[in-house]
């Protein structure tokens, strides 16, 4: 409705800002001269009167924009991204280097631990062997001592026994003499008594 009615008038608004006029209002001052610089019925985007100007200004502005982009903005953003990329790569390298160091430290720690363990074992073994040897030696010495003492004791016992036995012979002879004297009243020679004692002792 209002679309087509106002169309012809609108094409002459040279240098005029868009006016928020009310619907259906007639613009008399612009309506009087519809034949302006443009053709009246030309759809504005196809109006060729401004093509040259548009092209020139597009070339200027876009050319400038292209130059700005390629000389300033793109190297700058590219640099930012590259710096970040490098930084990340560097940090990753650093991290893997530190991880390697940590792994090496762990490996050396475990190595040392194993060495210490082995050393501990050997010390314990040595100590045990030494203790065992000493115990054996002590025991042997004690046994030898005991054996010596036993031998001495046995010797003494044998001495005492033989001595006692010898005494027993004498006593028996005296007793037998006394007994015989008392019983028979006669005298018996010492040699006969001794032979009789010896014969009974021999039984």
């Amino acid at each position: 409705m209002f679309v087509t009615a106002a169309y012809a008038q609108s094409t002459t608004t040279e240098g005029e800002a868009h006016e928020p006029a009310a619907a259906g209002e007639v613009h008399t001052e612009t309506g009087v001269a519809p034949e302006g610089e443009h053709g009246t019925g030309v759809f504005p985007p196809f109006d060729s009167t401004h093509f040259a100007s548009q092209l020139l200004w597009l070339a200027i502005t876009f050319g400038l924009f292209y130059l700005l982009m390629s000389k300033v903005i793109i190297p700058r953003i590219g640099g930012i991204l590259e710096t970040r990329h490098d930084r990340i790569a560097q940090d990753l390298d650093e991290a893997s280097r530190l991880k390697g160091e940590a792994d090496a430290a762990i490996a050396s720690y475990e190595q040392e631990l194993a060495t210490a363990k082995a050393k501990g074992h050997s010390i314990a073994d040595t100590a045990r062997e030494a203790a065992k040897a000493k115990a054996t030696a002590d025991r042997t010495a004690v046994e030898a001592d005991l054996a010596k003492k036993i031998t001495a004791a046995e010797t003494r016992i044998a001495d005492i026994k033989s001595k006692a036995l010898a005494d027993v012979g004498a006593i028996a002879e005296e007793t037998a003499t006394a007994v015989v004297t008392q019983l028979i009243g006669g005298t018996v020679t010492k040699a006969e008594i001794a032979a009789a004692v010896k014969a009974s002792a021999g039984n």
Partner: protein, 250 residues
């Protein structure tokens, strides 16, 4: 006249300049081209001025757009295509900023002018042709001769390939231009319904709610289209550049 949906596409002279009888006036279109360049370059320049190892939010927006275009170009045209990175990046940022600036009320949409989008498309295709011939000589023409086509069909296929190649600047420019134009006209029409309906009284104000909702919804859609069209332009640029870098690879 304020309801004329094409009024917003009018080019108005701000500083009349005439060189050799040709009108090179500084117009509102020129003003918004300058604004586009200023906003886009200013944003990228200021957000990256810290060069932070850990980016701020705004710096990461700049870095994301950089990496977005870089990966797009690498996927589209391979690592040899990376020499065109400044070009694709500039095109994407310029078109995106121009589209987004056009979303402000009363702002002029640079990319809604067919001559602007056509010039950008010709710039892309011109680069493809010049670089293709410079790098591969006549071998660039292998682009029009696909592999594995039977000899009988070859003339037909080559003709189709040439036509499709020639239609590229047209499709590339019309796609962007038509999307921006249609979106802005639709927005304007629906917004116009709101004002004209609400002028009709209480019933009209009630009835104006629907177009108002539509206007809000379409505004959201238009922001999507702004980004999408800049993306599509950049993706197609990458694909066409791939032809220049590797002709006969498809």
């Amino acid at each position: 006249m304020s309801n004329d949906p094409t009024h917003q596409f009018l080019v108005n002279k701000i500083v009349p300049i005439e060189i050799g009888g040709i009108d090179f006036s500084f117009t509102n279109a020129s003003l918004f081209m300058v604004a586009t360049v200023g906003v886009a370059a200013g944003f990228l320049y200021l957000t990256t001025s810290q060069r932070g190892l850990i980016p701020t939010r705004m710096q990461s927006v700049s870095e994301m757009s950089y990496e977005f275009i870089a990966s797009m170009l690498r996927e589209g045209a391979g690592s040899h295509g990376m020499k065109f990175f400044p070009m694709v990046f500039s095109l994407f940022m310029f078109i995106l900023t121009a589209n987004l600036l056009g979303m402000f009320p009363y702002f002029f949409t640079v990319t809604s002018q067919i001559i602007v989008t056509f010039a950008l498309a010709v710039f892309v295709i011109g680069t493809v042709i010049l670089y293709g011939f410079y790098k591969h000589g006549l071998g660039f023409l292998k682009l029009f001769v696909p592999h594995g086509v039977p000899g009988v069909l070859l003339p037909l296929v080559v003709a189709i390939e040439i036509i499709s190649f020639l239609s590229r600047p047209i499709s590339l420019s019309v796609r962007l231009f038509a999307n921006m134009l249609a979106g802005h006209i639709t927005l304007k029409v629906f917004a116009g319904f709101v004002t004209s309906l609400s002028a009709l009284g209480a019933l009209g104000i009630g009835g104006a709610i629907l177009p108002l909702i539509m206007t809000v919804a379409i505004t959201g859609l238009e922001f999507l289209v702004c980004f999408l069209q800049a993306y599509v332009f950049a993706v197609l640029t990458c694909m066409y550049l791939n032809d220049a870098v590797h002709p006969g690879s498809h």
